[in-house]
């Protein structure tokens, strides 16, 4: 063990400690914000109540801002109490269990959708890298694809999946169609950042590969792809949340049961008899999104800390 080894090890230890500190700080800030948001919610409700009690009419509330009654804004305590209560009269299963099961179902769809999207997006990026012509010709279509409403595509994909994919060696399930819908949202950031990342390889390094008479494939695999990793992780974070949103919207518009989308649809249609159920389910979906981003960020840290590269912004 040389002195230099010691120093390098010390630097790595220091970096790790710094990263832990940063993560801890982030969590504290997050919790503080959560409390501030909750206080704002409660404060706003209380303000509305005093207006009601005084029989004064303040035209902004109810016309511009949401009304503060318990139907529009159920009390926070009610929302959290709802997690422990069974949403169906004939069952004792609490809502939290329903949400957890639905979240797992949606997570499965989203994960497969994320994987589809990454493979498809990277494939597009590699094709676009081939020539400026292809890049300029295809990019507008990629952008246009994202302006098509998901609600319009969802039924098409679900029907296509259930009627045309019987040649596959395994049974095509409806939830897999939802994954395809989610992939429709996830491939885009991966393709866009992917092409930027692949092009980010240092020109001197590209020349070096040429001096080694490296093939196009070797250059892609050994230089351009590794160089694009920070860009890809920035895209993965966007794609992770997009996959969950895509899965939820896909469930709703594709009429698929079992996930958060269906749960949200059910509770929305019965909103007047229990608004806090919908709120609780939405909170569940948000937590799922945060978990997905957290997972991607953790993997990013593991991959990039070795080469000491600052992760790009979220």
């Amino acid at each position: 063990m040389t002195a230099r080894d010691e120093v390098a090890r010390e630097i790595r230890r220091h970096d790790r400690a710094e990263a832990t500190k940063r993560t801890a700080r982030r969590i504290v800030v997050f919790v503080v914000f959560l409390v501030v948001l909750a206080l704002a919610y409660v404060g706003y409700k209380a303000f509305g109540r005093t207006l009601d009690d005084a029989q004064t009419d303040w035209p902004v509330i109810g016309n511009v801002l949401p009304r503060t009654d318990d139907l529009t804004m159920p009390p926070i305590a009610d929302i959290f109490a709802e997690f422990g209560q069974p949403p169906q009269r004939n069952s004792s299963k609490p809502l939290a269990a329903f949400i957890a099961e639905a979240a797992l179902f949606t997570l499965r769809e989203a994960t497969l959708g994320f994987a589809f999207g990454v493979v498809f997006g990277l494939g597009i990026a590699v094709v676009l890298l081939r020539s400026k012509w292809i890049e300029q010709g295809v990019t507008p279509y990629l952008v246009a694809s994202q302006t098509v409403p998901l609600v319009a595509i969802a039924p098409i994909i679900v029907i296509w999946g259930s009627t045309s994919l019987d040649w596959l060696p395994f049974e095509w399930m409806t939830w897999m169609s939802v994954s395809l819908i989610a992939a429709y949202l996830t491939f885009f950031p991966v393709a866009m950042n992917g092409i930027k990342g692949l092009q980010s390889a240092d020109p001197a390094a590209m020349e070096l590969m040429r001096s080694y008479a490296a093939s196009r494939r070797q250059t892609l695999l050994r230089l351009q792809l590794p160089a694009s990793v920070p860009y890809l992780f920035a895209a993965f974070k966007i794609a992770a949340t997009a996959a969950i949103v895509g899965a939820i919207v896909g469930e709703i518009s594709g009429g698929v049961r079992g996930g958060l989308g269906r749960l949200i649809l059910d509770f929305a249609s019965r909103y007047t008899t229990g608004p806090s159920r919908l709120y609780a389910t939405v909170i569940g979906a948000a937590v799922l999104g945060l978990l997905a981003i957290g997972l991607v960020t953790a993997v990013e840290y593991l991959v990039l800390s070795k080469r000491r590269e600052e992760p790009l912004a979220l």
Binding site: A204, A213, A214, R307
Partner: protein, 262 residues
């Protein structure tokens, strides 16, 4: 000069024009003819923009001449590149930051399809040659500038090319490290018998390292003088010898004469 056993590089009547026929046309090199003997150490020196780096890239077939022919090891420059006849080192080390020191040195071998054990063995040998054996598992960001440059040289030598093309490899280093690296490079040259073509704009560096210093004129680059340096084996004393300073003066005069003609 006596006829050598073989010519490593033959450049005949080479011109290079960038953006030919466009308003931003640049004549980088004009009518260059140069023969480089196998096993020799030749420096290319000249003011910025004189095309010396372009000439190096032409030898490496990373760009092609507008006119004239370039041969490397009795074949076309392109063929020599495909046969991996040369290794290259730049001013920036160009190490891949996601690869450890060993993995960086292994890169060309990996591209050539060597097995993992063979690669490891050769990389270890090369890192010993540049005296970095104990740093094999470090990552580039953990090394100093001089060490990174040594890794880049080890990488260029790893597949044992007969020709080494170096473009100001020590340009970004401090003076102390630079002199140290020069001594080590000469040591490697003595041990391996490579042909080295070395681009620099430091006169003492060119004189200390080379057997021949080629002085370029400003744009369009032409060969202004071809100065033979015969200082025998270089030692620490060489840097303080009067013959060393005389050669430095000779190169400087040649450069100044060219400057005055602009």
């Amino acid at each position: 000069m006596t006829e050598p056993d073989r010519w490593a590089v033959t450049i005949s009547n080479v011109s290079k024009t960038f953006n030919q026929g466009k308003p931003n046309e640049v004549h980088a090199l004009e009518d260059i003819s140069l023969m480089i003997a196998g096993g020799s150490f030749v420096s290319l020196i000249g003011p910025s923009g004189c095309g010396k780096s372009t000439l190096l890239r032409l030898i490496g077939a990373l760009t092609h001449p507008t006119q004239g022919d370039i041969g490397v090891n009795d074949k076309s420059a392109d063929q020599a590149r495909l046969d991996r006849d040369y290794g290259m080192a730049f001013q920036t080390s160009g190490l891949f930051k996601w690869r450890s020191v060993t993995e960086n040195v292994e890169l060309p071998l990996q591209l050539m399809g060597w097995s993992k054990t063979d690669r490891r063995e050769r990389a270890a040998e090369m890192l010993d040659l540049v005296k970095l054996g104990e740093f094999c598992n470090h990552y580039p960001h953990e090394l100093s500038g001089g060490m990174r440059q040594r890794v880049a040289i080890a990488r260029a030598l790893s597949f044992r090319p007969s020709l080494l093309l170096m473009d100001e490899p020590f340009g970004a280093l401090d003076e102390m490290t630079r002199e140290h690296m020069q001594t080590e490079l000469l040591d490697i040259w003595n041990k391996t018998g490579k042909t080295i073509v070395f681009v620099t704009h430091s006169i003492p560096e060119a004189v200390f390292l080379s057997q021949r210093v080629i002085v370029f004129s400003p744009r369009p680059g032409r060969i202004a003088s071809d100065i033979t340096v015969d200082l025998g084996d270089r030692t620490f004393e060489t840097r303080e010898a009067s013959a060393f300073f005389e050669k430095i003066t000779e190169v400087r005069e040649a450069l100044r004469f060219e400057e005055s003609r602009i």
